[in-house]
């Protein structure tokens, strides 16, 4: 007799998470920002961040950028560790902890040399910690914590805009767009995108409503603190927000959306269920 079984929710989370990491690593490879593609950068940017200060003081930012072989070894190690996390169930704790450490070094090295501290990769870093643990209470608690953190990212963004009063300034979004797109509009005067940016900049009252819409969307994430009933809707809203963020603000925030996995219950989404190979049962 043949039976069809699906992977456990835990196993599906592991697989979807590290497959998303593989996609992001490819994206960074084609963006020429992996260890071996950076060369020997000249300028550093620890900013006012004590963790970056410590990282740079002990010289970890140079570990995978200032030699011939180590950068390549670093890149290959991240790739192999990611594959091991997906496909190997033995010694998984070793692979997942090693992945977090190496990926953490990569994130901070990239931010140290890029002149700006990007937060996109932090979602992967935080969520990878949950997989240090086997299925059970510890894993579930950390997964829940990551879910609340993801909700906090969105809802606190709305909270700050309201508390600081920026949402009530009619020229706020027009001024943000002026600053955000000056470089683009300088190089592209006649594109389709330029005309959208220019329309929103010159029509402050309309762009103000776009900002209000974005804040209302972010406020929806407060609901997640009280019920999980709307988690799938919130995931779609996060995705929708990222698409708008990309097209209107020119900000690429899809890497952070990986953390939105915490809102998905894979066992109850038929098209995301991962099936095991059918096994033949004999009496």
């Amino acid at each position: 007799m043949k039976t069809e079984a699906t992977f456990s929710n835990y196993e599906m989370r592991v697989r979807y998470f590290y497959i998303a990491v593989i996609v992001i690593l490819f994206f960074h490879f084609f963006s020429n920002v992996l260890f071996s593609e950076l060369g020997t950068p000249a300028l550093v940017n620890p900013s006012i961040d004590n963790f970056y200060w410590l990282f740079q003081y002990v010289g970890l930012h140079k570990l995978f950028t200032q030699s011939v072989f180590l950068p390549a070894i670093g890149d290959i190690s991240i790739a192999i560790l990611t594959l091991l996390c997906v496909f190997s169930t033995s010694y998984r704790a070793i692979w997942t902890v090693s992945f977090t450490l190496l990926f953490g070094i990569y994130c901070i090295t990239f931010n140290t040399f890029s002149g700006h501290h990007y937060h996109g990769l932090m979602g992967i870093l935080f969520l990878s910690v949950t997989f240090w643990f086997k299925p059970g209470l510890r894993f579930e608690l950390l997964w829940e914590a990551a879910r609340y953190y993801f909700l906090f990212l969105f809802s606190s963004a709305a909270f700050w805009k309201i508390c600081r009063g920026s949402i009530f300034e009619e020229n706020q979004f027009s001024n943000i767009l002026k600053s955000q797109h000056a470089q683009y509009l300088y190089q592209h005067t006649t594109s389709y995108q330029s005309s959208i940016y220019q329309y929103l900049i010159s029509h402050a009252s309309i762009s103000h409503w776009v900002l209000i819409g974005a804040v209302v969307l972010q406020l929806f994430f407060f609901v997640g603190f009280f019920t999980k009933k709307y988690d799938h809707t919130l995931f779609l809203l996060a995705l929708f927000f990222s698409v708008l963020n990309f097209f209107i603000m020119g900000i690429f925030s899809f890497e952070l959306i990986v953390m939105g996995m915490t809102l998905l219950d894979f066992e109850n989404i038929p098209f995301l269920k991962l099936k095991k190979e059918p096994v033949i049962l004999t009496n």
């Binding site: 200060w53 003081y57 002149g115 690429f252």
Partner: protein, 138 residues
């Protein structure tokens, strides 16, 4: 960051990157590499404005001066801050980085810095342009 009130500015800073004689369109870069190129150019620009003295030195002094030895303070500053020596290496690194990712040999790089202003229809006009740096490796 976007929760702060943004006031209208009289001018905005933009950059033009030329490799040999070709002007590079920043939109041809994927997001992380655009961040790497534009982020470091604006970092270099900020340093040049302070005569290559990193403002982080003041923060480090505030936190550590008088609390640790001068030798340790210098060690921290050397590790965390940029100076004219590091900045001098930057144009060659940027040229090499761009040449490597496009798999071609380049010999010169120019970065121009312009101040631009918006009119009522959100069209930009250039107020002034200066050379941020120029490097010819030949």
């Amino acid at each position: 960051m976007y929760s702060n009130v943004f006031t209208t500015k009289e001018s905005y800073t933009v950059y033009t990157l030329k490799v040999d004689t070709q002007t590079i369109d920043f939109e041809r870069f994927l997001d992380p590499e655009k961040g790497m190129v534009l982020g470091t150019i604006s970092k270099y620009d900020a340093l040049k404005q302070t005569h290559f003295s990193d403002p982080l030195n003041f923060v480090i002094d505030n936190r550590f001066k008088g609390k640790i030895s001068e030798k340790k303070l210098m060690k921290i500053k050397n590790a965390l801050t940029n100076d004219s020596l590091k900045a001098a290496r930057y144009p060659a690194w940027l040229l090499g980085y761009i040449a490597d990712m496009r798999l071609i040999e380049n010999s010169s790089i120019t970065v121009l810095k312009s101040k631009v202003a918006y009119n009522a229809a959100a069209n930009l006009s250039i107020l002034n342009t200066d050379t941020l740096f120029y490097l010819n490796e030949n």
